[in-house]
Symmetry: C2
Subunit: 376 residues, 2 copies
């Protein structure tokens, strides 16, 4: 096999050796004290990165399974207001349509949310609000704290998809009034894909809905988590739990504040490079919205072809992302998530700078040098 | 770490080194030709072990997720007849209650199904029938072919949980008229827990129901599987797919007929030992029902305490299963699934024979010798 490419995507991201090697051990009984301890380690660390003291469960399924668990357990037959300014906001809206009366509060992808429309919808009786904290499709960070304030003011429930922010950016679920928060394993935690963690507040439990999907029934997760040893209701994906535990221990060793600072530095370096090149960040931010800390979405300059540019970068062994859906060809996205740091960011920016030039774009200045200033 | 215990459970089961080591590689992009090839290898081999030419998808979730996908996509708002003679039959009934009008056709655990009652229910208009082919909770193999004949006669759909039979016992989904079949990764395939595969017949597609859970929406799986490269609709648990591919290649190398013969031999050896000891198999079988090929459920003789006996065996480094729910303390179960063979079965029977004697039971004869006769 050739050398593995460097994945600088908004997930999946490179995993530390310790995390990968944790998976190769022999099968263990998932109804054992040993597995209970693995699960319990994950929950302990995840609560700190969520910023919550609430119940927290790990589901054997992707982030989408976690999103659906949130909506299905707390939004069935209720009015759901879905804030949408990107692909994952849309996904939460689509999921919500399967369970309740869902209202899409849409903005253009990568532009500020319409919080005025949210407030109106809350006044009209919406009982639950969904938000994607960090919208990777557009590289924008949404004002979760502000949304939480509005939701709480109207006594609704707040479901926050923190899939690509938790573990890499500041998240204070309890302080922000988040009732249900979700993270995915293969993003800032730098674990393999396939697990989602979901936290549930006591306010949410009081409004638990009947008849969620059996596999995503959070009351069953609560019951099994309360047994000794701690368990999951259905067979868990054991190797992924072993890897997540290792990833969580690494987060604990680094310290969450250091980890967030590292992520912020990487994103600043990417933005500094884009600025030096004379390129625009794709999101239109305002006082309440920010550029994402975990993925930078940059608009292509005229004349540079997406497939061509990313192919040049790929030949150098680095994979960055293009745009999704209608943003295909319009933006490129560089992930800064998980276990990567200055070496990976500098390599990516160097390859990108080369590819921009090779594609015929005259960069205004040296982006690699500008990024170096952030790290140096 | 001490030596790993030998898991002789009805899943999870020991994994070959090749399968475990496949998981330790670096993250790969799941929207890539490389991942598409992994998924495609799994599907090719799984179709042969299912005995089907139908569509087949792999879901990142446990066998229970696969069971729910079957019921949710084809049973919503319909009349569902659920054949139950053990814990997993009950689970399919519980899942069915969340989606349609479910009728339980119950027998005592480990006793023959009531096929007369099934036929009545079909005559009264049941549109879908659920069956657990191999009921591990009770060690009984149900007559799937016979059920398929009845279901087809009444033009209903046949959902068969083959979670613990497919890959280790004879399954001919198409020949038996199975419309939706399900397998779990951590059973006879000897892959890690966390994946379920589901096959879907064209008859089933014609009766696809609206509004399944988003995460388990089989139409979305079909659409993504049809793209090039082949994909899953949501992020797959990549390390588990890598391991499943390796496990499937091992199945192909062994040959499915050889693999089934090996499983049958192991079960015969366990039954020969039980007979020699003077113990009874737990299931009450008849001309249509058989003892399971992949797990043997043996009734405890009077006076032998479950926890005590299994503890003695555990101290020898071998884990066997007790009974579940109301069978706790009444039976013990020895798995014969996956990558194990004569060495593991002989070791398990030797330890069990020792433990039976140590627990005060006077064995009638030498079960280890009797098992040896099966392998020798």
């Amino acid at each position: 096999m050739e050398k593995e490419p460097l994945l600088m995507l908004p997930g999946p991201v490179p995993m530390p050796e310790r995390v990968r090697y944790a998976m190769m051990r022999q099968a263990i009984n998932h109804r054992s004290a040993e597995f209970g301890a693995v699960y319990s380690d994950c929950v302990r660390v995840l609560k700190t990165v969520f910023g919550t003291v609430n119940d927290l469960f790990v589901i054997s399924g992707s982030g989408t399974a976690g999103m659906e668990a949130a909506v299905a357990n707390f939004g069935r037959d209720t009015e759901i207001a879905c804030l949408v300014n990107g692909k994952f906001g849309e996904r939460l809206y689509k999921i919500s349509q399967r369970y309740g009366k869902a209202y899409e509060i849409a903005s253009e992808w990568g532009t500020p949310l319409n919080l005025g429309a949210l407030e109106e919808r809350l006044e009209q009786g919406a009982q639950i609000v969904t938000l994607v904290h960090n919208e990777t499709s557009a590289g924008i960070k949404n004002p979760a704290q502000e949304v939480g304030r509005l939701v709480r003011k109207h006594d609704a429930l707040f479901v926050m998809d923190g899939i690509t922010s938790i573990g890499g950016d500041v998240v204070e679920a309890d302080a922000w009034g988040v009732d249900v928060a979700i993270v995915g394993s293969q993003k800032c935690l730098a674990a393999p894909a396939g697990l989602a963690a979901v936290s549930v507040s006591s306010r949410a439990w009081e409004r638990l809905c009947k008849n969620p999907p059996y596999y995503l029934d959070l009351a069953a997760y609560r019951k099994s988590a309360g047994s000794k040893p701690m368990e999951t209701p259905y067979t868990p994906a054991v190797p992924l739990f072993l890897a997540l535990r290792e990833a969580c221990l690494i987060v604990e060793e680094e310290g969450i504040a250091n980890r967030i600072a590292r992520h912020q530095r990487m994103a600043r370096a990417v933005r500094a490079a884009a600025k030096a090149w004379g390129l625009s960040m794709f999101p239109k931010i305002d006082a309440k919205h920010e550029y994402s800390t975990t993925v930078s979405a940059i608009s292509y300059p005229e004349g540079v072809k997406d497939a061509e540019m990313r192919d040049i970068i790929k030949k150098m062994g680095i994979i960055i992302a293009g745009g999704q859906d209608h943003l295909k060809g319009k933006i490129f996205r560089i992930g800064s998530m998980g276990a990567v740091g200055a070496p990976e960011i500098l390599a990516t920016l160097a390859a990108t700078q080369f590819a921009l030039k090779k594609s015929g774009y005259k960069v205004q200045g040296d982006g690699v040098q500008a990024a170096g200033e952030v790290f140096g």
